[in-house]
Symmetry: C2
Subunit: 405 residues, 2 copies
């Protein structure tokens, strides 16, 4: 048969993400590779109660086709959570999605024509790059420092790309870098977006998982003319398996998103939506999130201790105030992809940072996930990693430096 | 703010489907408009047991991120069901989707470049037309008779459109027409597809709901070189709210579908997948489907009786052997859209058939759903409909015919 694939599909192949999503199935492997929450914290008993209640009280409705924009009480609960972080939203400014991955994909579908430009952080979220690529987008990268995207570089990029479609940013505990955009820069980003008539896509899956430092308002809090599209999800604060996220945006966007979602998958799982709403009705999800934060804070601290104890001193890292990830920079001469293969031989999985760059990759970087691994295994994995890094560094030194006898 | 929408999004607006999906919320309305299964048949008690078992035995795994291609035991169960209808499929020829709507959408993403042509039935499934339109497809229609797509016309269209991407067909109890493609035509379609090197997209959500006549093998049973992509779903045999469908196709397609699904929504709800697999492990889903068929058979028979009893004799209809829909042709002079508005005044909802044509609409057609309404309400709704049609026909006659005194 003659090749019938669309252009966008020709380059599609199994991604690194699939390896990540299935790595957990090898029990001997200590994986810092995925972006998975701690499964032992999932509120399984509470979900049994919620499931029984949903099926008893509204079984048929939960199993029937339902509205594309999502289950009303769930959108009401989300509106309450948005209000609590300083984003008052009406119900017609909220749509439920099948995880925030679908929100990212639908945003590509909403805004991107072939060859359109996106301005994004360097590095940025791998699966967003992949989703936007299926809409034939170009990426213009903005370098970051410890306070997130650098505004002088953003302004330069905006001047150079006046027809860019939107700025894509993950402001809180960014995936992969763990960095947080400072308050001052958020205000500056909004100003620049207005000045250059740009949409901001604020992807915020981790904001609720702040375990140290002072909370910073979301960018959308400073949005006075509906140019910020805000995405979030239940994946990190509740259960990713249920695939529930949301979009909060001006109704002019939401109306279009609903039309696009309708042809994408009609609606998200109605039983999962009612289960989540019922869980929040019967339980204090904020208390649950506090537990998550305590555990992740401790795991992050253990991982940092291990870096300081086991890693060569020439390795640097970003200390996150929340989220799931720690970003490591190896000495410039080291190739993180090569290291990650050596680590697999020691049954430790990490993702080379290069995967997270839309353009110019920093090949000496690694992303480490701390949320999914208990402390003792973090220690063991980091110790093994330290040994591999020390060995590599010694070999590196012995081959690249002149012998001095 | 300047318009930033992608071309494909500019024409998007709330569709007739949304009206359908939310019509059920007005209790005084008798709706024949949707494509909803009978909610009173959902196996709610069995799902309580299954839910308790999934959360007890594999709670964490069901709530965690999981593989894009879907939960292995669910794919195994589907492979068994495919085998039973004469389609042996290996596990890597199966991918779970978020309803078969997502399978349709991903097929557009996989195969369609801007301006590509699809050969489809006239009429065809509304939400497939909408999904393919977001990929800027053109439609070439093939007229149908009581045995489905007419092969002589299909061959003519294939000759005229040698670069068409695929033939889209719903062979069993088609939505909206209720027609079934004959065995002889299925074999002929495969031959034509080979001759013109065409893919066939066989969309088969209703095949398991045959309540009279003799089963006809799916087109894919005659597929010798992997050119048939077969779609089906749990929506009509189990519960649409859970949004679970599947694609069965050659691995060369499935590998690409997995990559595309990964960026669309990562994976379908893992809890719903395990719930469905557990239900099938604990219960005989075929016995459940028998119950559905008995109820739909009776509802369809009642609807046909009512047409014969209450409708003008100039109205014709297609008698389906299964599925959810009955297709009505009014006298050519009548406008079904106008009739559907009059019907709403009598609290009866139907969909004008024109919505189901990708090109040349037959404006005197209506689609009636019989699965979602109990018999007494079918009788009441059809009686009201008969009155409206009789009245319209009389008015029509009195205004268009010369007075004879």
């Amino acid at each position: 048969m003659h090749n019938k694939f669309a252009k966008r599909a020709c380059s599609i192949k199994s991604s690194d993400m699939r390896i990540i999503l299935t790595a957990g199935e090898r029990p001997e492997l200590i994986s810092f590779a995925g972006g998975l929450p701690a499964p032992e914290l999932f509120p399984i008993e509470a979900l049994k109660t919620a499931s029984e209640a949903v099926l008893t009280e509204e079984g048929a409705a939960s199993l029937q086709y339902s509205a594309t924009e999502g289950y009303l009480p769930l959108r009401q609960a989300i509106a309450g959570r948005m209000e609590a972080i300083g984003i008052p939203a009406t119900l017609d400014q909220l749509m439920i999605t099948s995880g925030s991955q679908q929100a990212i994909d639908l945003t590509g579908r909403l805004l991107l024509d072939e060859g359109d430009t996106i301005i994004c952080e360097s590095p940025t979220y791998l699966a967003a790059i992949n989703a936007f690529k299926t809409y034939d987008a170009n990426f213009v990268e903005v370098e970051m420092d410890e306070d997130g995207m650098i505004m002088e570089i953003l302004e330069k990029r905006l001047m150079e790309n006046p027809h860019a479609k939107f700025i894509y940013t993950i402001p809180d505990f960014q995936n992969p870098s763990g960095r947080t955009l400072s308050l001052e820069r958020r205000k500056r980003m909004i100003k620049l977006a207005k000045q250059y008539d740009m949409i901001i896509l604020e992807d915020n899956p981790y904001g609720a998982i702040r375990f140290s430092g002072t909370p910073i308002p979301p960018i959308k809090q400073f949005d006075t003319d509906g140019r910020v599209i805000y995405l979030s999800t239940f994946s990190k604060i509740f259960a990713p398996g249920l695939r529930l996220g949301w979009i909060c945006a001006d109704t002019v966007f939401i109306e279009k998103y609903i039309g696009l979602k309708e042809s994408a998958d009609m609606h998200s799982d109605g039983f999962a939506q009612r289960l989540t709403a019922k869980y929040m009705e019967q339980n204090d999800i904020d208390a649950h999130i506090e537990t998550i934060k305590e555990v992740y804070k401790e795991r992050c601290a253990v991982m940092i201790d291990c870096i300081e104890q086991f890693f060569p001193k020439s390795v640097s890292f970003v200390k996150p105030e929340g989220g799931l990830f720690l970003w490591v920079e190896l000495p410039e001469s080291m190739d993180a992809r090569k290291i990650s293969l050596k680590l697999l031989e020691s049954n430790v999985a990490v993702i080379p940072g290069a995967a997270f760059f839309a353009g110019n990759a920093q090949t000496n970087t690694l992303r480490l996930n701390f949320s999914n691994t208990p402390e003792e295994r973090i220690k063991e994995g980091m110790k093994r990693m330290g040994e591999v890094l020390q060995r590599e560094l010694n070999e590196d030194a012995s081959t690249t430096e002149p012998m001095t006898l």
